[in-house]
């Protein structure tokens, strides 16, 4: 495998430093950790919003640090949860006294390490609330989870919570809007090829030349079905119908949609998927309020995409449309 890496052991460390060098006016790394925070942390008069998880999903998580989104994020090793002491350092660094919302994706390691960190920080008087994202409609229990997995819908949770915090809402309100996104969002992904983790250096799973996997997880965990390759339209239909049947939205409902690249899929293909996705949403009587297309929650070099649909009301539209200024997402 040809890869732009040095030592597999150093990928996260070198990536974080490289990311910070690209955004020296925005990002800082807490000493002796893999925790990245806003340059001006903690931000006074505002609830802190933090996230984190395994690396390999870039620009998630540190790419979303900035005004209107995250105050900081902990990076674990590739596809591994950060440890509780890293989450603890993150929470403490981002608490300006108004409390911290921790956005956790539903993987056992992430949940347990975040929970332990929260209990530790609460002993020192920090007020922490949690929201667990579990938007993947594909599988109920999987390799790393009880319940559903947290995937690309997490970006919308970061966005809504971040905007609410900037608006000066208290911790309970910030948590409420984050949970509102979780309650209204669904995602399903597909893999055309396996990802290759730096440590293993070869594909995580075998997928034949003419095969795709539907319902794939963002770590290459098995999905719902392995099937013969299909056209972009057919794949989009499979993904979208699964998400929509799970969300069960009424006609006329406004939605935000995301076509998310898994890491090694050209933008051209993502737009082709979005083309069919918007037709399908229309056929279901749904109104797209905003359509996002890009690499938001990747899985290293996996080829494929995920489709996310989130039902939005006036409140979520205001939050998801609010000004944001981060390395990976900017909107005025």
């Amino acid at each position: 495998m040809k890869k732009l890496i040095n030592d597999p052991e150093d990928v996260v460390d070198e990536m974080l430093d490289g990311m910070i060098s690209a955004h020296p006016d925005r990002l800082r790394r807490l000493p002796d950790t893999q925790v990245v925070v806003r340059e001006d942390h903690p931000v006074d008069g505002k609830v802190g919003v933090v996230s984190g998880g395994g690396s390999g999903h870039e620009p998630t998580h540190a790419g979303y640090i900035g005004d209107g989104m995250l105050d900081g994020a902990a990076a674990g090793e590739v596809f591994s949860s950060p440890t509780a002491d890293e989450f603890e350092a993150l929470i403490e660094a981002c608490d300006a006294g108004d409390g911290v919302l921790a956005v956790v994706k539903n993987y056992e390691g992430d949940v347990m390490n975040f929970d332990t960190a929260i209990e530790l920080t609460e002993m020192t008087g920090t007020n922490v609330a949690t929201v667990v994202v579990d938007d993947d409609v594909a599988v109920e229990d999987s390799l790393y989870t009880s319940g559903r997995r947290g995937v690309c819908g997490t970006i919308l949770v970061h966005k809504a919570a971040g905007a609410k915090a900037v608006a000066g809402a208290d911790l309970e309100e910030v948590q409420r809007v984050a949970q509102k996104v979780v309650d209204n969002v669904g995602t399903m992904g597909t893999a055309l090829t396996s990802c290759v983790t730096p440590e293993k250096g070869e594909p995580t799973f075998d997928l034949g030349e003419d095969e795709i996997e539907l319902g794939i997880g963002i770590h290459g965990e098995p999905g719902t079905e392995r099937t013969a390759k299909m056209s972009a339209d057919e794949i989009t239909e499979e993904l979208t119908e699964s998400v929509l049947s799970d969300l069960d939205l009424s006609e006329g409902q406004e939605v935000v949609s995301i076509v998310n690249g898994m890491g090694a899929t050209p933008l051209m293909e993502l737009f082709i998927v979005n083309n069919r996705l918007q037709e399908l949403l229309g056929e279901h009587g749904l109104e797209t309020w905003d359509a996002w297309v890009g690499d938001y929650m990747t899985s290293l070099d996996m080829e494929g995409c995920s489709v996310t649909v989130c039902a939005v009301d006036e409140e979520l539209k205001e939050l998801l449309g609010a000004t944001v200024d981060t390395p990976a997402l900017t909107a005025q």
Partner: protein, 233 residues
């Protein structure tokens, strides 16, 4: 260094040594139903803990336990870090007032409560809880009801844990990584229950070797350790 603190440091060192010895065995158990990293993670984590507590300057038992827990939290990772390490950190507070019959029971019960709370597992889910619940219940009953010395209570707890580990074999896992296998997890001994047993066995052996005298109350006399005896019992 306080004798009680020294005893706990010795216990941590002994656990580290034991888990290094059992590294392959735990990894074999984990490769059958998990991701084959339990042996390595536990051995690495406890070795780091032993090194860290060995450098503490005159620590009390609570500090040794808490430092061990924090080191495991940062070194073991995954779900095992919070389960083995986080639970120790929180349970260590029970020893703040010293080591006595009441505080060791409080320690054991808090540890169990934290493990169960974090992992949301019950007996029969094929997890470490299957070893821990009978061990802690036996330990508590032996001290509170049967009035046994903590060393003997610990030996009885080890027997209970051993039965608990054997009990995991015919179970179908419903928590943790193995639960993904569904019925395929039947017939496998749980690695977490097994490492929990190894830790308890080592603690019991250490207590026996050091012949620790745990007082009725911490403020009566501090725990004393007689000269090390050349003995197996």
């Amino acid at each position: 260094m306080s004798e009680a603190g020294l005893a706990v440091v010795t216990a941590v060192e002994n656990v580290a040594e034991r888990l290094e010895t059992e590294r392959t065995r735990l990894t074999e158990l984990d490769s059958a139903i998990g991701d084959a990293d339990h042996g390595g993670n536990m051995a690495r984590g406890w070795a780091a803990a032993a090194e860290t507590v060995g450098e503490l300057d005159d620590p009390d038992p609570a500090t040794v336990v808490q430092t061990t827990g924090k080191t495991l939290l940062s070194e073991v990772g995954g779900a095992s870090g919070p389960l083995y390490g986080g639970s120790l950190v929180f349970a260590a507070a029970e020893l703040d007032g010293g080591v006595d019959r009441e505080s060791v029971v409080g320690f054991a019960e808090t540890y169990l409560e934290k493990v169960q709370g974090r992992g949301d597992a019950e007996v029969g889910d094929q997890t470490m809880v299957d070893a821990l619940v009978p061990a802690v219940h036996t330990f508590t009953k032996s001290i509170e009801t049967d009035d046994l010395p903590p060393g003997e209570a610990l030996a009885k707890a080890v027997d209970a844990a051993r039965r608990g580990v054997a009990f995991t074999v015919p179970l179908r896992a419903s928590k943790g990584r193995a639960s993904y296998l569904g019925w395929r997890s039947v017939g496998h001994q749980d690695p977490g229950a097994t490492s929990t047993l190894f830790i308890l066995e080592t603690l019991a052996e250490t207590a026996q070797t050091l012949d620790i005298d745990v007082p009725d109350t911490a403020d009566a006399t501090s725990p004393t350790i007689p000269e090390a005896e050349d003995t197996n019992g």
